[in-house]
Symmetry: C3
Subunit: 156 residues, 3 copies
C-alpha cells in the first residue's frame, strides 16, 4: 500500500469513530427531545426492534427492577410515563465504539411532576447501541436511579 493510501485508511478509521460518537451523543439527545415532546412513538423509534430497557431503583426503594423488551412493551412503558411531563437532561457521556456496536455511560437528571407535585430524579444509563442502516439506535438501556423524590423533600 502506498503512503497516501495508508494515511487515508488511518484518517477514515478515525473519522468513522468520531462521526459514530457524535451520532450516538445525538441519539441520547434526541431521546430526551422526544420524551420532552411526549412523543411515545418517536421515543420507541430510537430503539431496535428487539431492544430492552431495564430500570434499577435504589436499594431500600419500594419499587423493584422493571424490565421491558421489544416495541410493544416499550410503547406500554412510555405511554405510562406521558403524564409525568418528564424533562430529562443528559450529561457525562462516555462512548466506546466497536464497529457497528457501541457501549456508553451517561448521567441523567430529570425534572417531572407526579400527581401534580414536582419531583426530581437523578441516575445514569449504561447503554448498548447498534448501527442499523447508517444510523444508530438503542439496543439496550439500563437505568440506575439514584433517587426519584418529591422536589420539596430532596434526596437527603
Amino acid at each position: 500500500m502506498s503512503t497516501v493510501e495508508k494515511r487515508l485508511d488511518e484518517l477514515e478509521h478515525r473519522v468513522h469513530d468520531v462521526v459514530a460518537r457524535d451520532a450516538i451523543r445525538e441519539l441520547t439527545a434526541e431521546y430526551c427531545r422526544q420524551v420532552i415532546r411526549g412523543d411515545t412513538e418517536g421515543m420507541v423509534a430510537l430503539f431496535t426492534d428487539d431492544a430492552s430497557l431495564l430500570t434499577h431503583f435504589p436499594a431500600g426503594s419500594s419499587q423493584g427492577d422493571v424490565e421491558s423488551q421489544g416495541r410493544t412493551e416499550l410503547l406500554e412503558v412510555y405511554k405510562d410515563l406521558g403524564a409525568m411531563s418528564l424533562k430529562p437532561f443528559i450529561h457525562n457521556h462516555i462512548i466506546e465504539v466497536n464497529g457497528d456496536r457501541a457501549n456508553g455511560f451517561c448521567s441523567v437528571e430529570i425534572r417531572l411532576t407526579q400527581d401534580g407535585e414536582a419531583y426530581t430524579g437523578a441516575g445514569h444509563y449504561e447503554d448498548e447501541y447498534r448501527r442499523i442502516g447508517g444510523g444508530w439506535k438503542f439496543q439496550r438501556r439500563e437505568l440506575f436511579v439514584y433517587h426519584w423524590v418529591p422536589y420539596s423533600q430532596g434526596w437527603g
Copy 2:
C-alpha cells in the same frame, strides 16, 4: 476523479460537518460562559448583527412572548438580565448543518437569583446558526421556557 481524490472529497465533507458541529456546541457553551461572567458585550458578540431572540413563557404565565432583534435591542435585553446572576447549563444538543447554515435544539437549566431570592428555570432553545468569516454565530434563538419559578416553590 481518481479513487484517492474521491476518498479525500468524502473525508473533507465529513470532517467539515464534524468540525462545524463541534464549533456550534462550543458557541452555546461560550454563550453560557459569557452569561455567567455577566459580560453583556461578550454575549451579544456571539450573535450576527441582525440576529433575533424570541422567548416564549409557559401557558398560563403572566408574561407574554418577548422578541428582540439586532445588536442594540439584544444589548438592552442582556443588560436587564445582569442583576439575576444567571447560571445557565446546556444539555441535549442536536445539530443539523447545511453548508454555512445550521439548526439546533438544546435544553437549558438555569440557576439564578431574583430580588435576592433563588429561582430555578428550565426550557429549551431552537436555534439557527450562521457561519461568518470561519466562525459560527447565533442567527436566531427561540427559547421555550417550561418554568421559571422560586426555588423554594419548584415547578409543581
Copy 3:
C-alpha cells in the same frame, strides 16, 4: 508537496484536533463516573503525577481556598469526599488544544449529601490538560464554587 499531500496534511491536522477534543470531553465525563462510583484511585489516575487541584469558595464563605498537588495529596482530598456521595454533572465544555497541551472551561452541578442532609452545588472548572502516552490527563483543575448549600435552603 503535491495537492493530495496538502489535503492529507490539512485533514490530519483537523482530525487530530477533533479527536483530542472528544477525548478531553470524555476525560471530564470519566472523572464524574469515577466520583459517582466513589473510586478514589480511579479519580486520581486521571491526573498527571504532578497535577494540582485548587478550589475557590465563594466570597463571604467561611471556607478559604484549598490547594492540593501530586498523587498523595489528591488521594487524601478525594478520600475525604467519599462520604458525600457526590454526583457531579458537567456542562458547557469549551476546549482549546495546543499540541500536547489544552485548556478548558466547564460548568458543574453537584448533588450530594453531607451529614445525611441533601446539598446542592454549582460552579465551573478552569482546566489544563496534558497528553501523555496517547491519552489525555488533568494537569490542573481550578474549581470556582458559586454555592454549596443545603438543598432545603438553596442559593438565595
